[in-house]
């Protein structure tokens, strides 16, 4: 066996007598440190997003690199709820904030009024100049009570009624009959149930959620008016509750909550004839919820020609962002560039909030999953009619309180007036909290 002769080491090395492994570790640290310093020198922006939007951002990177070859885009993606929880804590401590924060419209009311997001209407951003280029209701959604504009819209969700064309045909019900009014919706549901056995809706709660958003007077939010008066004990809610109760009593709903296993099963199997949701549900149905039902579904306006927004994505910049200017440039690319908006629509079913993207020929193409329907035109027309609804920071708890009141009506036969009066009282109590 040959003896391996160690290379002569420097006297310093001998003096230090560092064990070899530690010396190597130190050297590795030095190299890594140098590498880190290099990375820090190269510019980057961080984008925090949730699924589907993270993909839209990722697909935009090549286009971004053409303008800014040396600015990297780091995407931090989390599950939808986790993302907003993480953003809540980041805003709470004003630390670990991304440069671009994606916010879903349901959270935007709270985030916009936080003071933690940059007012994009001010210099150097001046984003108000783009207000004519977006679908009309979007920028008001991102405007805080003090008039600050906190985000630009990426995509919108025009509320729509998906229905099973085949089940309607078998029941000799036309879509006009189904959607003429809420009463005709229910009576058509009875026919569908009799002919096919399918439920009209997955959950009676769905009806309530649409009806309480319809016919708002100026200055009215869903649960509160702009003066913070609680609106729950009002005709709008009474009617919504009555129709939901009728649906349950006639056994027209499966009492299945959205996004559960049973829900997707009923969408797949034809166990339910209609589903009200944002237009984006079409993509989910086609891609993973019920791909085998291709050609059986159609889309329509909601009953009684109700126009409501159902979901939507906004891009915002935290006040503590490290790279606000680059972040804004990135946001402009995602929201104001026609080709990016269309790419997101094609790949992720993210309906464009940018009006000029809505003129594309893609809108005139039939949607194969919806039996060749020109559904995108329908949604474009719907979106133009949607009006912004003022938000309140107690909206999320109000929604839960109203849902619980409806549970009591549907399950325990609590009189509607009593349930709504109780919900109203609960909310007024909430308002008095310290």
């Amino acid at each position: 066996m040959m003896k391996v002769v160690a290379p002569t080491s420097s006297p310093h090395h001998k003096l230090l007598r560092l064990p070899r492994s530690i010396a190597m570790l130190l050297r590795a640290c030095l190299i890594a440190g140098a590498a880190m310093a290099n990375i820090a020198k190269a510019e980057s922006i961080t984008v925090a997003a949730y699924p589907a939007v993270d993909q839209i951002v990722r697909e935009a990177i090549p286009a971004w690199k053409l303008i800014h070859p040396d600015v990297d885009v780091i995407i931090v993606s989390r599950e939808f709820n986790d993302h907003h929880t993480a953003m809540t804590t980041a805003l709470a401590t004003r630390s670990h904030l991304p440069d671009v924060m994606v916010v879903e419209v349901g959270y935007l009311g709270r985030f916009a009024n936080s003071g933690g997001l940059i007012d994009l209407s001010r210099a150097p951003f001046e984003a108000k100049q783009y207000s004519d280029r977006f679908v009309a209701y979007t920028l008001p959604q991102a405007t805080a009570k003090n008039g600050e504009l906190t985000g630009l819209p990426g995509d919108i969700g025009p509320g729509t009624l998906f229905y099973r064309h085949d089940l309607l045909q078998r029941s000799a019900v036309t879509i006009a009959q189904l959607t003429e009014s809420w009463d005709s919706f229910v009576s058509s549901g009875l026919k569908i149930k009799a002919a096919t056995g399918a439920y009209l809706v997955a959950d009676a709660r769905n009806l309530k959620d649409v009806i309480i958003r319809a016919g708002l007077k100026p200055g009215e939010g869903i649960y509160f008016d702009t003066q913070d008066k609680v609106l729950v004990n009002s005709p709008r809610f009474h009617r919504a509750f009555e129709l939901a109760r009728q649906i349950r009593r006639e056994r027209l709903d499966g009492n299945v909550k959205d996004w559960t296993g049973e829900w997707s099963q009923s969408l797949r199997s034809g166990g339910v004839a209609t589903q009200m949701m944002g237009a984006w549900l079409g993509g989910h149905l086609a891609n993973w919820l019920a791909p085998k039902t291709k050609g059986l579904w159609r889309a329509s306006t909601l009953p009684e020609r109700t126009n409501i927004a159902w979901g939507g994505t906004f891009y915002t910049i935290p006040t503590k962002a490290a790279q606000p200017k680059l972040a804004y440039e990135f946001i402009q690319m995602l929201t104001l560039k026609r080709d990016r908006q269309l790419a997101a629509f094609r790949a992720q079913d993210a309906f464009p909030a940018l009006l000029e993207a809505q003129d594309d020929a893609f809108f005139d193409q039939p949607v194969a999953f919806l039996g060749g329907q020109l559904a995108r035109q329908l949604w474009r027309d719907e979106a133009a009619k949607i009006r912004p609804i003022p938000v309140n920071k107690l909206d999320s708890i109000a929604a839960e309180i109203v849902n619980t009141a409806l549970d009591k009506v549907l399950n325990d036969n609590m009189p509607i007036a009593a349930a709504l009066a109780e919900a109203n009282r609960f909310l007024e109590y909430r308002q008095r909290k310290p």
């Binding site: 709820n81 929880t85 809540t88 804590t89 805003l91 709470a92 401590t93 004003r94 709270r110 985030f111 009024n113 936080s114 003071g115 933690g116 009492n255 299945v256 909550k257 996004w259 559960t260 296993g261 049973e262 099963q265 920071k393 107690l394 999320s396 708890i397 839960e400 849902n403 619980t404 549970d407 009591k408 399950n411 325990d412 609960f426 109590y429 008095r432 909290k433 310290p434």
Partner: protein, 310 residues
């Protein structure tokens, strides 16, 4: 000098733990206590915090949902907790008496649910409890078709997770299933430490198996029962994961499955009110302390009753 450095050495070596404990243990505890007296919407940043005295506690005491969640929690702690021990003690005795070589394997199987991820368990039970496609309803339907005993079972599918009256039993079933094995292991360990001589002497005196169970086994298990029940009380009152996942984080229809820990989480992260959430957590802590003390009192050492004269 030298003495001093050796005196400090232990703290140096302990410092990783002490540091982590201070950051993740002590600081959150103190901070939440501080928060309980503040009003704070976290989204508005740390500057938005302001002192409200006992306001959060007053608000919570008047909040119907807090009381409802507390009722749900106590119900679940009782219905999921008591059967755990009623089953675990006889089960441990059975395993102790009738299995020698297979015992560890069996105990391992009973223990398995305890070390399985809660998320996996809840997803599995969501599937089992599904109204139209779940195995539990399928089994009940099959049983209902059997003549004679069929009438004992419901002929309609039971909506386990959407009907308020069914949610709590469904959650209790999952919690029971999950922790019964853990308690069995506790009791088995205690059984193995009971001196055999006691049983031998009792047998010599002509005590029956039942008498031995009541007069030797149970009294000897008392310290372990105190330990096991205390753990059940604390764990039961902090119940969060199982109902949270089974009800999709919503607490179920009419909030019938919303425990206090869940309500606290929702208050903090959905309603963005960290002050009230902290107040809820400290009130829950008070309830846990009181119930733990009651448990200890119930298991206190009593002076043994005077022997009956012959």
């Amino acid at each position: 000098m030298k003495l001093k450095s050796t005196a400090l050495a232990p703290y140096f070596f302990l410092s990783p733990f002490l540091l982590l404990f201070a950051v993740f243990g002590i600081f959150p505890l103190l901070f939440s206590f501080y928060l309980a007296f503040q009003s704070w919407d976290p989204i508005q940043g740390i500057d938005a915090m302001y002192y409200v005295g006992l306001g959060n506690f007053r608000f919570t005491l008047g909040d119907d949902w807090f009381w409802k969640s507390l009722y749900n929690t106590l119900w679940l702690a009782l219905v999921a907790g008591v059967p755990q021990h009623l089953v675990a003690i006889p089960l441990a005795c059975f395993l102790q008496q009738h299995f020698k070589r297979l015992r560890n394997t069996l105990v391992g199987m009973y223990f398995l649910p305890y070390i399985t991820s809660t998320v996996a368990i809840a997803i599995m039970f969501s599937a089992l409890l599904s109204t139209d496609y779940g195995a539990i309803n399928l089994l009940l339907r099959t049983l209902a078709d059997i003549p004679l005993i069929g009438q004992l079972f419901p002929s309609q599918n039971i909506d386990w997770l959407n009907r308020p009256e069914n949610i709590k039993p469904a959650v209790a079933l999952v919690v029971f299933w999950r922790y019964v094995g853990f308690n069995t292991v506790l009791y088995l360990a205690a059984l193995q430490s009971i001196p055999k001589e006691l049983y031998e002497a009792a047998t010599m005196d002509g005590a029956s198996a039942r008498q031995q169970f009541w007069k030797i086994t149970l009294p000897q298990l008392k310290p372990m029962m105190l330990f096991g029940i205390t753990l059940s009380v604390i764990g039961g009152l902090q119940l969060f994961e199982e109902p949270f996942i089974l009800t999709n984080g919503q607490g179920g229809s009419d909030k019938a499955g919303m425990t206090t820990a869940m309500y606290m989480f929702k208050t903090a992260f959905e309603f963005n009110d960290f002050g009230i959430a902290s107040a809820i957590s400290w009130m829950l802590f008070a309830v846990i302390v009181v119930l733990t003390l009651i448990t200890r009192y119930a298991f206190r050492e009593r002076p043994s009753p005077p022997r009956p004269a012959h």
